[in-house]
Symmetry: D2
Amino acid sequence: MDFSSDTSAPAHPRVMEALARVNAGHQSSYGNDAVTAELRGLLARTLEIEDFDFWLCASGTASNALALSCFCPPTGAILCHAEAHIARDERGAPEFFSGGGKLQLLGGDGAQIEETELRDALARIDHGFVHETPAHVLSLTNLTESGTAYPAARIAHYAALAKEAGLTVHLDGARIANALVSMGASLADMSWRAGTDVLCLGLTKTGAMGCEIIVLFGEARTKFNELKARAKRSGHMPPKMRYLAAQAIALLTDGLWLDLARNANQRAQEVANLLCRRPGTELVHPVHGNEVFVRLDDETAGRLRDAGAVFYTWLDGSSRLVTSWQTGADTIDQLASVLD
Amino acid sequence: MDFSSDTSAPAHPRVMEALARVNAGHQSSYGNDAVTAELRGLLARTLEIEDFDFWLCASGTASNALALSCFCPPTGAILCHAEAHIARDERGAPEFFSGGGKLQLLGGDGAQIEETELRDALARIDHGFVHETPAHVLSLTNLTESGTAYPAARIAHYAALAKEAGLTVHLDGARIANALVSMGASLADMSWRAGTDVLCLGLTKTGAMGCEIIVLFGEARTKFNELKARAKRSGHMPPKMRYLAAQAIALLTDGLWLDLARNANQRAQEVANLLCRRPGTELVHPVHGNEVFVRLDDETAGRLRDAGAVFYTWLDGSSRLVTSWQTGADTIDQLASVLD
Amino acid sequence: MDFSSDTSAPAHPRVMEALARVNAGHQSSYGNDAVTAELRGLLARTLEIEDFDFWLCASGTASNALALSCFCPPTGAILCHAEAHIARDERGAPEFFSGGGKLQLLGGDGAQIEETELRDALARIDHGFVHETPAHVLSLTNLTESGTAYPAARIAHYAALAKEAGLTVHLDGARIANALVSMGASLADMSWRAGTDVLCLGLTKTGAMGCEIIVLFGEARTKFNELKARAKRSGHMPPKMRYLAAQAIALLTDGLWLDLARNANQRAQEVANLLCRRPGTELVHPVHGNEVFVRLDDETAGRLRDAGAVFYTWLDGSSRLVTSWQTGADTIDQLASVLD
Amino acid sequence: MDFSSDTSAPAHPRVMEALARVNAGHQSSYGNDAVTAELRGLLARTLEIEDFDFWLCASGTASNALALSCFCPPTGAILCHAEAHIARDERGAPEFFSGGGKLQLLGGDGAQIEETELRDALARIDHGFVHETPAHVLSLTNLTESGTAYPAARIAHYAALAKEAGLTVHLDGARIANALVSMGASLADMSWRAGTDVLCLGLTKTGAMGCEIIVLFGEARTKFNELKARAKRSGHMPPKMRYLAAQAIALLTDGLWLDLARNANQRAQEVANLLCRRPGTELVHPVHGNEVFVRLDDETAGRLRDAGAVFYTWLDGSSRLVTSWQTGADTIDQLASVLD
């Protein structure tokens, strides 16, 4: 019973098949190959739009930091939640890639930004006041770090506020599939139709070996050349790009990525339900995706550990249990038997 | 007849098998997995030493830049050849990772640093003179960018000079296998026994999907934690590290990597021999590895292009033909028939 | 009645005399001059210690950022108050100079860090957990941005906590003279005896044209060469250093700097007293130095504006009135007559 | 007989008078003062243009690096001479301020860029080739580091070539007054009329305490806000800006700066004439400004040292003697008597 992280799961078999399929013959390097070209069409259908640019990246940290660095100058700031992955878990990647830009941290429950905090931060921006660092980007995360999902309408609302203030809107979608399934939204509704300018579409946690897609929409496309130059100099322009593209093709084809997320989400609900039946146990955040944050009583925690269940203790003392595409009914049954 | 680059070749089948082998069950993320642990032993045997630390990276650019940034402070410089990959083809990666350090460019034939230039540069270092940027690192490349190989003894000689001046020695080994085979040297002889402090052991061009190993020896190991922190913030700490480790295991096992390099080198010799039989054609550099730099007469060039041969024109007007693990006797036969 | 800032006051006449005095003959450049050498002795007496290194800087922002960048690596963080000048008013200078380090913001009244917040932050440091950014420096400001003063004992207490956790202690003393006078402490007591490793001793706001002194104590002195290299490359190694040294000599001689701060502090008290006599007016923070933060009723604010008084409205809606070495009894009389 | 540098000379008395003149009353901080406003008009007349923006800086290194960082992105390069001050004597300042941009070094006699080298470098720029770093800025220095002067027409010619290739043209004018006097050109002819986009107008070496003016012309003015933000975060926005403006006013008024440069240049000619009368002595570069580079025979060198003359030995073994506004006929007489 490994609930440590969706990143400790293996890649989905269809990903491996896709890698094998493209592993023949010469292909141009650095993204000029036929596999990456094939991905473009599939991505257009997935996004329901033709007007976009994209770049492939093996790392979610790099994907976010590269995207942000194209829109936040060294003299600017990025608005994000105080619990955001970019703020807490990337060892200063946005600061590094942006050349010393700042993160301006906002609060709100469930790692979702509170509207009043966002409005206050936007109102404070004064490009004419040279001493303070003005925000240039709003970064939202869906699923959030607390496993909750923003509905597409809230993304759209926040994006509209941000754009009115001249900001670019970035969506960290390391677990976007889980959010889409949970909210019943399409990727288009959650991204460009909601005003997202740059999307980091994560597939690693969903079932890839390591594959993230940075997508630029509309005006943001003017930064595509800069994005590639920054990718190059940060070591995120792998010569054999076909192997990244193949992973994305495998997952986006026939909606496999959403099916995998659907399984993970359902298993998380089952985990939550089993745990919440225990009297001393309560959820810390609503379970919208594949992460369960729960305050466990000592006996429950003890039983789990004794049974070899693996999960992390969070900063606030709660426990985080993560499911993945691979979490099966057998794992849930095992959990049930431990808790009964 | 694709001679464009060894990076346009696919991965070796045993690499794909290794990926499939490790694609099961949960593994701890970020390098704490059993596959990476397994690699350690194999690497120790390959290096003939136990006293080292290593980090896996999908990108050669990142591998070099990360390594260099641990040893060259923002206020320092890196000595390298004017034609070095880190100077010419990485879009300022060393400058970016080091926080604005400098490359100090040295000359020499065949992209090998001339000893007098090295000695002059070392003699000029004056840490007490705050206005000039003192060199902290000597970076050597083997194979060089011109396809020639430094013998291990020359590496050792330069490393000794550099260390006497207080520098750290970095070896960019993106095509180190080709150099080892060509020079008949062991990896140990070419790296730590020759005074290399930090080795970037490239496997991507040899036959991996994307896999480079940064190896720290001796004193340099004190920088291992810094290396990891820098890897993290630059997006080079992939969660599913097992897939990098598996590639390395496949290639290092039973010396496969050297066998593949041996084939590439031999094919390059055959290509060179065929081309040099043409009256107007001459080599620009000796062919020590898998790269042939040749000045082609118009007729030869025309025949090659007409036959669909793919290769690059270099800055000096010469042509570069690169072979790989996959270049077979059939390709050489085809080339022969075109040139006859 | 200009209460806008102590930086809008001119330099003290003795500063101008000192500049004139040193304006003759040749002097070595870049700090190797006789005037800077003379300052060293005076500074030793002022600090009551011989074991220190120092560097002169015309800018407080640069003084802080240079100091911090020697102790906080790009992969590290600086603990400071959320209202600190380095966090709010320096446009990302610490992030720029450190190469993308982070500020970790702590709360507390009067812009003084709350002890529990400090303890929590220190307890969370985990150098072995590569994903989060560990704090390397504690930065305290005295006077704080709210015009309150830390007593020397509190600095010492916080410094002890920080050092136990392996941090370096930085003191932003842009208005240190005001804090010393207010707390009745010596500079030694407030700096090295209290565990400060690196002091930014500000004289600009006290009465210089532009002069700040970065002082390194004890172990921190090992960073002196790095400090100079960083000063050089950031344009803070002026060739004609004698003119910075002369300003410092003028102000430190016979305790002039403390006398000037004493006047400013006393005038601030008088301003506060006059304002607080008004029924609707109340102090937002205690007045420990030369800054009065006050919530003005509309009538009082109106009278002041009508009489041409200059002062800033702060982010929280309060008014900030700052006095300086030049604020005289006449200004206080004028204020009294406006308010009567 | 101090010929070490023009930066070891004191400030001109009129500079000191100007400082005293502005040292009264309150002035707005950070460049919003009446003195800086006054300077604007004087600068317009000096430049013979109204359409410009400017920023004051106490440091030449900062002035160059700030200017360059507004026009060279982190992913770009700056073309300059291999001997340029920005390349050799600023400890990586351009790399630091630009966030890791590159200097691309060109050759040519007398530290003047050779036209063919410039043309080759411009021809190689390929923004579509992501691996190499494209040049964005051409940086010229006048006087050069070898004491020679570009005529205005050559600046204009090079600027035209650079602009055709899409580059911005930067002029490092740390000793621009010496070049103007030497070439008989106006500042307008040497700067904006010659196609310079951003001029670093140095006054420190001419006779200020420390004062450089960054001037943006035409299109380059769109970067003025960025320039200010970068100045702020690098500590080059001194609160009491009036004291920088006053220095500039003193020197630009009635062409004092040119008079001072004229004296320095004349004295340099006299020094050169005296030295060249010695049989074994020859100039290394023509003397266009206030710097004499000369190869001294041992006897001459010995006599000079014995007489207490101060001057530097250059990297190529030659001797550099620098004159300043303060070098008088008495110094020349003294030199003559030593050499006779």
